[in-house]
Symmetry: C2
Subunit: 359 residues, 2 copies
């Protein structure tokens, strides 16, 4: 926390849930839908708009695609030339956000051009600050689900993120959102450190989809004092076996289970890190492939403040008080008094399971 | 997991919830209540009985006590002489468990005699195996809540665990429960490693109360393949501020919040580690001091299998299938494929929060 007092630090945030994006939908059409949500969010006083994972296209890792097919889904970032903010598919979103004075979290497929001309692909998100008029946070998804090789069992459901993306290499870097709290300095080109401290700029963390099930990811952000976690997702509405088959459950029971896991992850980890979280779905049936909804804004005390009612484009707004992080961060989750890292070493020392000896 | 297949590994487990233990209640009376629950559990086919934290006495850390007052709450363990299993206050429980063929987890206040004759006190639990006829697991609470010095604000609620206990020094050691799974070898003095492997002896972890809110603790056990987590607790039915005052909530709203935090912790961490958990309350008003109930047995997929209905002595039984851990441990939570420890280093490198730089 920036503040040691509990004086209010109010900000209105908007989870911008997207309904299905079909294969045939043009990027222009999707961008139009996103701009409409952004306008509505700003009109209702929001200062932060959070969009889903891979927001601009259908969730393509469900398909086995060749290189040529894949290109259309990616935004190219060439550090020697330009970043995502210059992509013609994305720039209008940030331009409008800047004009409206609203920050944006958005997920996209990043094609990162290397010095030797080759590229590495990531499942990424950026945080655009309307006050700073630039991207102030970037994240590359660390916990990629699925497989590298397509599952070959007849009827198997594909999830090929491990094929199309490399695991993120940036870790979990929290950052401050300049001027996000209401009453902060607006539209200044000279936003200084002193102003940032004085205004209590919130500390933000970003995750993407499957990351939200990993307590380590939340904790690394929690250890940076995170007050707001932004997380977009595309989550299949049924659980599968290791070979990619749907479990023998009714669609309703399967979706109920997936929603429980989503909520336990978001609510449990928000509580255990005393932070707000804004968890935003791309949802509905994309060309017949069902994604769950469940866009939720969660309080640092773990309860859901606001939840989406549809599986379509929908704005979920809440005015949150960042001062609500203060009590849990200074009592039950005062890390400096309560944590015992001397007993946590297996978390770093090993990746997989090492079972205890037999009797 | 011991088994790589999904053939059933059934075991009936009993959460032995205790109602209030008042200051004036004798240890004999409490033991009698515990023995009654143990008998009932065994009669109904249970092979494991889980009792609360500090089960044998009232939750004394709510009082400021001098050394002489404190003595009565502790069980003395002198490694050169005898352990808790020889304490006259505890031995009848293990003797009966042995005769009934039922394992026991129980929490107690441990006074550990050192070589130089001084003592160190811990908030501990042990796991007694009826098949091995001995204690096969021991845990000392790592995450002690509360304060060392009494809170001095008028009307403050005391929680003096940090005063009376030292943080646990054993880490989070998982262990196997010999013969716990139904069909396993019973009552043999010659329980061998080969038998243990062949019978799929379950891997057990133990936590105590506040530990259950710490994802690191669960994960260290998860990294040992834990299939059942046992956790006893005494949880005050209202949240307090840093100065120990109750929040300005109705008693009903306060208890609802405490229960949400309890369930998010147990369900969220069971799900994220693909293990069963047996979470057992001492509950009701101890001399007017309210403790929450909420004894729950949780499935590795995160849902509650069975929940207590009262705030008194109550048996909560379930027959669980340890094979249910297999699918999540080999898919979404296949740690060796999914975890990325190279990005988790702050979890060990720092205890408290280090905020990101100002802009």
């Amino acid at each position: 926390m920036s503040s040691t007092t509990s004086s209010p630090r109010l900000v209105t945030v908007a989870a911008c849930q997207l309904g299905p994006v079909h294969h045939a939908d043009s990027r222009q059409d999707v961008l139009k839908r996103m701009l409409l949500l952004l306008e509505q969010a700003a009109q209702q006083g929001a200062k932060l708009a959070v969009f889903p994972e891979l927001a601009f296209t259908t969730f393509f890792p469900r398909y086995l695609l060749d290189e040529a097919d894949l290109d259309q889904y990616f935004d190219v970032e060439d550090p020697s030339k330009s970043g995502i903010e210059q992509s013609p598919n994305v720039k209008p979103l940030f331009d409008r956000a800047s004009a409206l004075g609203i920050d944006v979290y958005v997920g996209y497929a990043e094609r990162s051009i290397q010095k030797d001309g080759t590229h590495i692909d990531y499942n990424s998100s950026v945080y655009y600050s309307a006050n700073a008029k630039k991207i102030v946070g970037k994240y590359r998804k660390v916990h990629l689900p699925g497989t590298v090789e397509p599952r070959t069992e007849p009827g198997a459901v594909q999830q090929l993120e491990k094929r199309y993306f490399r695991p993120g290499d940036l870790g979990f870097p929290a950052f401050r959102a300049p001027g996000l709290v209401e009453g902060a300095l607006k539209s200044s080109g000279q936003y200084t450190a002193a102003q940032s401290a004085g205004k209590g700029d919130p500390i933000i963390g970003m995750l993407i989809c499957n990351d939200r099930r990993w307590a380590e990811a939340w904790r690394v952000y929690g250890l940076q004092g995170m007050e707001i976690l932004c997380c977009g997702y595309n989550t299949t509405a049924f659980p599968t076996t290791a070979s990619g088959h749907q479990l023998d459950l009714t669609p309703e029971a399967a979706e109920e289970m997936v929603m429980l896991h989503h909520k336990l992850s978001c609510q449990g980890n928000s509580y255990m890190n005393a932070c707000f979280s804004i968890n935003v779905a791309k949802t509905g049936a994309e060309d017949g492939n069902p994604l769950v909804g469940g866009t939720i804004i969660v309080h640092p005390l773990g309860h859901i403040i606001k939840e989406a009612q549809t599986k379509d484009d929908e704005l979920v707004l809440a005015t949150i008080d960042l001062a609500d992080c203060h009590r849990p961060k200074s009592t039950v989750f005062a890390f400096e008094k309560q944590r015992r890292p001397e007993h946590y070493h297996p978390i770093l020392d090993q990746t997989g399971v090492i079972e205890p000896d037999l009797l």
